[in-house]
């Protein structure tokens, strides 16, 4: 396997709340290959968005900070970068696509200007050239009549077009990595499919790597190459899409898969995972999932399992992973 474009090791994020320190993201490690779409899956509060924000060091609150780990981007650890170098990373190497394009686009600046602004900041080009490039990017993300749409404002776009515009803004400086934080959650299903198609097309034509944050396993199986499942701030399972979704070994992954309403089974009761995800400050000892886990024993409530290799390119953090083959059952 070639050198990964991004290699995250032991990334931890802590929150200072009333004098105590809570770990929100706990020793997250993963590699992102060139041209790969990596799914980051988990319930709300599992730390998936926080992980992505930590990578561009724009955490949602000043109480949050990266407390350790490294993120090697093209051979350099971006966690050692100062603010100025970090600005080149943001937008330049890593482009962000947010969940809610209506609130993440400046309402009083035209879409084209927002793209051109990023281009002019990251690359030394003339105003006219930045404009030309912005129009070209708008065309690439499938916005019709981009010359005219350059001057349009966010509110003049439909939901799907707005998300295309957001993607165009993220693509402005030809980043190596796109972080898409639930980019289709706010869209209806047909538009959702178009946006997913656009993202896979961009991967195919530009070779851009995508970290795709979602809680929708259906989307994951549609577009991702590999998946990292997060629970309580930790990655509990990581591997190829087929292995993780088809034969997930962590009981939480299996629970998530079981929660997906199956097609062709109308009237069937929707299954859920019992209990609530852990809250900040109330993280259970041992394995974070043990209070909700069907395979729990005393061991689980005291020792937190490490992420260990359980197959080719497949890692799981569980004392009692679900066996799918006789060989797995024997371990």
């Amino acid at each position: 396997m070639s050198e990964p474009i991004l290699s995250v090791r032991d990334l931890s994020v802590v929150a200072q709340v009333e004098g105590t320190t809570h770990t929100i993201v706990d020793q997250v490690s993963f590699d992102l290959q060139r041209g790969e779409i990596l799914g980051l899956v988990g319930e709300s509060g599992s730390g998936k968005s926080m992980t992505s924000r930590a990578l561009i060091r724009l955490l949602q609150s000043s109480r949050l900070s990266v407390s350790g780990g490294s993120a090697i981007l093209k051979g350099e650890d971006i966690f050692t970068f100062d603010e100025r170098a970090m600005r080149d990373v943001r937008g330049g190497s890593i482009g962000m696509i947010f969940q809610n394009p209506s609130s993440h686009l400046d309402p009083v600046m035209s879409i084209g200007k927002q793209i051109a602004e990023s281009i002019r900041f990251h690359k030394a080009v003339s105003r006219k050239e930045a404009r030309g490039r912005a129009v070209e990017i708008l065309r690439q993300v499938g916005i019709p009549d981009p010359e005219r749409r350059y001057n349009a404002y966010a509110h003049e776009f439909s939901g799907g077009m707005r998300q295309r515009a957001m993607i165009a803004v993220a693509l402005a400086c030809d980043p190596d990595i796109l972080i898409a934080d639930e980019p289709t959650t706010a869209l209806d299903v047909t538009v959702q499919a178009q946006i997913l198609k656009l993202l896979t097309d961009l991967r195919d034509t530009r070779g851009v790597s995508i970290i795709f944050i979602t809680h929708d396993l259906g989307i994951v199986s549609q577009i991702c190459d590999r998946v990292a499942v997060m629970y309580g701030g930790r990655i509990v399972e990581l591997g190829g899409k087929r292995e993780v979704i088809g034969s997930g070994r962590h009981p939480y992954t299996a629970g998530l898969v079981a929660c997906q309403p199956a097609e062709g089974h109308p009237g069937e009761r929707v299954r859920t995972i019992n209990g609530q995800p852990p809250r900040i400050g109330h993280m259970p000892a041992g394995c974070r999932f043990h209070p909700r886990c069907p395979r729990v024993d005393e061991w689980c409530s005291t020792v937190c399992p490490d992420l260990v290799t359980s197959g080719p390119g497949h890692q799981v953090a569980c004392h009692h992973p679900i066996p799918h083959t006789p060989a797995e059952a024997a371990t």
Binding site: I56, L58, Q60, R87, D88, V89, R90, G91, G92, G95, M96, F98, N100, S103, H104, L105, D106, P107, V108, M109, Q114, E117, S118, F121, H122, Y153, H155, E156, M166, V169, A170, A172, C173
Partner: protein, 312 residues
């Protein structure tokens, strides 16, 4: 560009407002006890003379007839004659309009020059000593009455430091500007206090907004995020606040022109009320109303220009 179509129609909607204001001032000034003719003629007037002059000014007509004449004159571009000054009210206003206009525009410009940087400093350094000081000063600025603040400024800058004249208006441009510094500053301090507090609050909200985060995620430096994305969005609500306060400021010139002895419309209005000079009071009140209405009209145009989402 049809977002600006309201510019054509709005003036017609404003007409009823002006009619309403004219009726109210017309009735109110006449319901104050007192008689302009007695004031004019003094204590030694004879009943016959009073009657003659009342007839001359149409004051013996029923009030609705008087209003009819007033409106009829208005359409002919006249506002009647001042009973006391014995000149056309419109001409009288024309000689007084400049100091008041200078005072108001000067105060607004000065207030913006004070408020925008202060709000920017306070919002960008939230919780710092600078933020606290700015909040303290702007709270104090809201509390001080204009006449008191004006007198304090006169004591410090005119009497003790001898930098600016105590009162009056002046003749040459430089002289006039010199005279207007303190009055403008007095009005601007109160106005900038309101603007600073509100702008700071909208700036703080915008600094935490998704669109600011997205701008940072594009790698823009904080200064550019602030001035290109946070400030333009925060100024939109400030436009309307400013317009409302200019309305207050226009009526506030009555006090300011008295404190600084500026021969403007505010002073004219006060003297008009004391001498029951009906025509003058009506004329000035109409001008103030018109100015306030125009300022709000202008604010609407500005809001539409500043925020592409607004449709009027």
């Amino acid at each position: 560009m049809n977002r600006y179509r309201f510019v054509l129609f709005r003036p017609f909607q404003l007409l009823p407002v002006l009619v309403g204001i004219s009726i109210i001032t017309f009735v109110l000034i006449r319901s104050i006890p007192g008689d302009p003719v007695r004031v004019l003629l003094g204590p030694r007037s004879t009943p016959g003379a009073i009657e003659r002059i009342r007839d001359q000014f149409g004051l013996n007509e029923p009030i609705w007839m008087q209003y009819f004449y007033f409106v009829k004159n208005l359409f002919q571009g006249e506002m009647g004659r001042s009973i006391l000054y014995k000149v056309d009210v419109l001409k009288l206003i024309a000689t007084r309009i400049e100091p008041t206009a200078v005072l108001v525009t000067g105060a607004v410009c000065l207030a913006l020059l004070i408020a925008i940087p202060l709000a920017a400093i306070a919002a960008r350094n939230r919780g710092s000593a600078a933020d606290h000081i700015i909040r303290l000063v702007s709270t104090a600025g809201l509390g001080f009455p204009a006449f008191w603040l004006g007198i304090m400024l006169i004591i410090v800058f005119s009497v003790q430091l001898d930098l600016f004249p105590v009162s009056g208006y002046g003749r040459t441009f430089v002289d006039k500007a010199h005279h207007m510094v303190l009055p403008c500053l007095t009005a601007a301090l109160a106005l900038s206090a309101v603007l600073t507090r509100n702008l700071r609050a909208s700036l703080l909200a915008e600094l935490n907004s998704d669109q600011a985060t997205a701008a940072r995620a594009r790698g823009l430096p904080e200064g550019q995020v602030f001035w290109r994305h946070v400030m333009p969005n925060s100024l939109v609500p400030t436009i309307n606040l400013l317009a409302i306060n200019i309305g207050w400021l226009i009526s506030g010139t009555v006090v300011l022109e008295s404190v600084f002895a500026i021969p403007g419309m505010g002073q004219l209005l006060v003297r008009g009320i004391f001498t029951r000079d009906y025509m003058v009071v009506q004329g000035v009140a109409m001008c103030f109303a018109l100015a306030t209405v125009l300022v709000n009209f202008l604010a609407d145009i500005l809001t539409v220009a500043a925020d592409p989402r607004v449709k009027l």
